[in-house]
């Protein structure tokens, strides 16, 4: 690290105490810790309200309910960090199902058909990314247009009728419906758990992307671009490429989710996933991703969607009429974002005092 010979002896290290537990890291983990606490508190309260709540069956149902969506949340989080957004994810999930289902019905083996579905979704991402980077439109409006376009394509491909895919081979259905026994009795757990494959896939995606996002140089550029695009450009980062990559990644992961849904349901309804984008964006934002870009973690986003799922499950178990559930979900989103904003502005104020 020789900057200039002669500099090193002139400039001796200053006696500043170095702390390894850093602000940025601890802030992020603090937010996640808070979410864990809220989720645990909800679980405790619910276990009193409903004896069924703490059963493995209910837990598995809750995990199942958000694990495929969770894969999309991962993509959305990356996209929010780079400072973009994607409203088309619900349509793109459906698009992957419909393309893969149609290909399968045309006689292609389900694995190749699934690959085709994922590639088709990624190509939607390529189209959107081109409008965002080459023309310079905002991702909000581009993805809004594609949300409608892709939904229309789904309806056109299927003539508006759900594709029935009961003939999918068992081997393929296994990834969506199968379970793997998990024997933890030696650790004192009371029973053998049947863990759905979908949950394992979801966990794998989460672990891989959490690692990538924290460590990989490629994803570092995502943070730089989202934090301050101009400063990133002035650091030699080709920010348009980074944004392109993120948009395609999010659509590709939506495609993966679509194929998993197809395997799970053994069907491809062209109206699937309507409104899904809102739940996914809400989860990422509750988990700490900022719509302004530059911040967000995979763990936080997953906790965000877990919270929404626990709330949904609780509302159902408590016999809250479905018509009121949306109101409560909306209020929770608003509360989470408000608290986060207030915490953040206070933190910034403190930072300013220290700087002054």
């Amino acid at each position: 690290m020789s900057v200039a010979s002669g500099l090193d002896e002139e400039l001796r290290p200053t006696a500043v105490r170095e702390t390894t537990s850093g602000g940025w890291r601890s802030i992020a983990s603090m937010r996640e810790f808070g979410l864990v606490l809220i989720i645990l508190a909800l679980c405790v309260v619910m276990s009193f309200a409903s004896p069924y709540f703490l059963s493995w069956g209910n837990f598995r149902a809750m995990l199942m309910s958000f694990s495929i969506e969770g894969i999309v949340v991962v993509g959305m989080t990356v996209l929010l960090i780079v400072g973009a957004i994607d409203l088309s994810v619900g349509s793109v999930v459906c698009f992957a199902m419909v393309v893969a289902g149609t290909a399968f019905l045309a006689g292609i083996d389900p694995w190749t058909a699934s690959l085709a579905g994922i590639v088709a979704s990624a190509l939607i991402g390529v189209a959107m990314a081109s409008f965002v980077t080459a023309i310079g439109l905002h991702s909000f409006i581009v993805s809004l247009a594609f949300m409608v376009i892709v939904r229309g394509l789904c309806l056109a491909i299927t003539d508006g009728r759900p594709l029935s895919l009961f003939s999918l081979p068992a081997g393929f259905k296994f990834i969506g419906q199968g379970t793997v026994p998990l024997d933890l009795r030696v650790l004192g757990f009371p029973q053998v758990y049947d863990v759905p494959v979908v949950i394992l896939i979801f966990l794998a995606v989460v672990v891989v992307f959490d690692l990538l996002l924290r460590k990989a140089t490629v994803f570092r550029k995502v943070f730089y671009t989202g934090s301050n695009e101009k400063a990133a450009q002035y650091s030699g980062i080709r920010t348009n490429r980074v944004k392109f990559f993120c948009i395609v990644l999010c659509s590709g992961l939506s495609g993966v989710a679509g194929v998993l849904y197809m395997a799970r349901f053994g069907a491809a309804p062209p109206t699937f996933g309507v409104g899904m984008e809102l739940n996914i964006i809400a989860a990422a934002v509750i988990g700490g991703a900022s719509l302004k870009g530059g911040s967000g973690t995979i763990l936080g986003a997953i906790l965000g969607i877990a919270l929404l799922s626990v709330v949904s499950s609780s509302l159902t178990l408590l016999d809250v009429p479905p018509v009121w559930q949306d109101v409560i979900r909306g209020v929770i989103l608003l509360a989470a974002v408000t608290i986060d904003h207030l915490l953040h502005t206070r933190k910034r104020a403190r930072g300013a005092v220290r700087a002054g």
Binding site: M1, S2, V3, A4, S5, G6, L7, D8, E10, L11, R12, P13, T14, V16, E18, T19, T20, S21, G22, G23, W24, R25, S26, K215, A216, T217, V218, R220, K221, F223, Y224, S227, N228, K230, A231, A232, Q233, Y234, S235, G236, I237, R238, G294, S295, R348, G351, A352, R354, A355, G356
Partner: protein, 504 residues
């Protein structure tokens, strides 16, 4: 003697520890055009903002028409007949000229509905005396000079009797400026008093009645234009001695071998045929007025803007970059003048800031190593004596000077061969400033090429071995040795030297 339209007595204003104005007095006669001159940072803008009610003075008083007044807001200033035309055009491009002109008037009216006919009538009336501009036209469709006139019309719409013009000709061509002066002459004839801020000596001497000079927040003098000379004013503006606050220069660098050579640089816009050499071991300065094209030259060299023509040769090898990434790979880096906007990532940790230019240096197999990143940041932070808590703290927790050191550490992280710094000490306190100067000098002696762009002449003179002066996108001259003084630079920067040559 004509009565005074405006009088400022003993006004002081501090921003934190910085004393921007120190007991400044100033008087404006009715119907005169009074130039206010001084270097960047002399206090002109602060004084004008106080007169327009944007800032409140800490002490002192202001009299309008002989009566003491308190100007608590721009609206109050309007009521007193004071109109300020900012240097930057602040019009709404998507609405009509008429609506823009009456914006402030509309704002203070209590009516529910817009009276467009009245609006147009007023705009017609005001514009009739100024220029042929269609009040219905959208402001965005007008030329810059027409927009400037709309700005003036906007001030006149408030029936102002005192008009402050802040560098109105900065963005105008000579012919457009000529039109503007004809209009100003009309206004003067109507009894309107004008405060005219400009760096352009020639136009001040051609059109103004009196000149007041500010320096370092202090009032220096007021002279009748007829009774003074341009040289005298320049001397008044800059007259000061430099202490030993700058590191020792390297006189031997004059004969040192050439490190980087830039030839015939053009960006098709601001930069016109710029060529210069940077020698080993020297600190080269670039001076010039704001908007002269200094930054654009740097952006061109570093591949941050597209070049129409020209090449960059470093140690005999052509390194003309097509992108900034390529320039970084070639070892030529740029420090932006806009620290918060383009220099540092204020919300990201210090360590992540430092590693941003080339993440691969602290990574292996595509994964960032936290240990390496921390070590790199710690090493550079220590070398630059960065005052910080933890390297994981966001850059926003640091003071301006230390943020600038983070930006500098970011550049040094790639062991650059040449660094172009744009206003490296802007908004930085004196202590950090001296340290940055020392660091630059040491880098230069260590073999790194240093080019410093600055609007602060004392800085260029104190720090640099040689200074290039840019005027309207061209290198107007090069000064070094005994010629390296503010008067020579100012003459070149304001185009005075060139005008003089043409006149001969």
């Amino acid at each position: 003697m004509p009565p005074l339209a405006l009088e400022v007595r003993n006004v002081s204003k501090s921003f934190g520890p910085v004393r921007a104005l120190d007991g400044v007095s100033f008087s404006l006669r009715k119907g005169e055009m009074h130039a206010l001159m001084g270097e960047n940072g002399a206090g002109k803008s602060t004084l004008m903002n106080i007169i327009d009610g944007i800032l409140r003075p800490d002490s002192g008083e202001i009299l309008v028409g002989g009566r003491p007044v308190e100007i608590a807001s721009p609206q109050k200033a309007h009521e007193l007949g004071i109109g300020l035309v900012h240097q930057e055009i602040a019009l709404c491009p998507d609405i009509s000229v008429a609506e823009n002109i009456s914006m402030a008037a509309t704002n203070s009216r209590r009516a529910w509905l817009m009276d467009y006919r009245e609006l147009r009538r007023r705009a017609d009336q005001i514009l009739a005396s100024l220029a042929e501009i269609d009040p219905q036209a959208l402001v965005g469709d007008l030329s810059i000079s027409e927009q400037q006139i709309v700005e003036i019309a906007k001030a006149l719409a408030l029936d102002c009797s005192i008009l402050i013009l802040d560098e109105p000709t900065a963005a105008l061509t000579e012919r457009e400026a000529g039109k503007l002066f004809a209009i100003i002459a009309q206004l003067k004839a109507r009894g309107i008093s004008i405060i005219y801020i400009s760096h352009r000596m020639a136009e001040v001497f051609a059109h103004c009645d009196r000149i007041s000079v500010l320096r370092d927040g202090r009032y220096i003098c007021t002279e009748e234009v007829a009774a003074t000379t341009q040289e005298e004013i320049v001397r008044r503006m800059v007259g000061r001695h430099l202490g030993d606050i700058y590191p020792a220069k390297n006189p031997a660098s004059v004969d040192a071998p050439i490190l980087m050579s830039v030839s015939h640089l053009q960006d098709g816009d601001r930069v016109r045929d710029v060529s210069f050499d940077l020698r080993r071991g020297e600190v080269l300065g670039i001076a010039g007025l704001i908007g002269a094209g200094r930054t654009e030259i740097a952006l061109g060299i570093c591949g941050l803007s597209r070049l129409a023509a020209g090449k960059v040769v470093f140690e005999g090898q052509e390194v003309t970059p097509r992108s900034y990434a390529e320039s970084i790979a070639n070892g030529i880096v740029y420090l932006s003048e806009d620290r918060k906007g383009a220099g540092v990532f204020v919300d990201l940790p210090i360590a992540m800031n430092v590693s941003a230019l080339d993440i691969d240096r602290v990574a292996s197999a595509g994964f960032v190593s936290r240990a390496k990143e921390q070590a790199q940041a710690k090493n550079l932070a220590d070398q630059l004596r960065l005052k910080r808590g933890s390297l994981d703290d966001a850059a926003s927790t640091l003071s301006g000077g230390n943020q600038q050191k983070v930006a500098l550490a970011k550049l040094l992280s790639v062991c650059p061969k040449a660094i172009i710094l744009d206003e490296p000490t802007r908004g930085v306190d004196i202590g950090a400033k001296a340290e940055i100067h020392r660091i630059l000098r040491e880098l230069a002696s260590g073999g790194t090429g240093i080019v410093t762009i600055s609007s602060e002449l004392p800085e260029l003179i104190g720090l640099c071995d040689r200074v290039l002066v840019v005027h309207e996108g061209r290198i107007a001259g090069e000064v070094s040795g005994d010629d390296l003084n503010e008067e020579t630079i100012m003459r070149l920067a304001s185009g005075l030297a060139i005008e003089g040559q043409e006149a001969r």
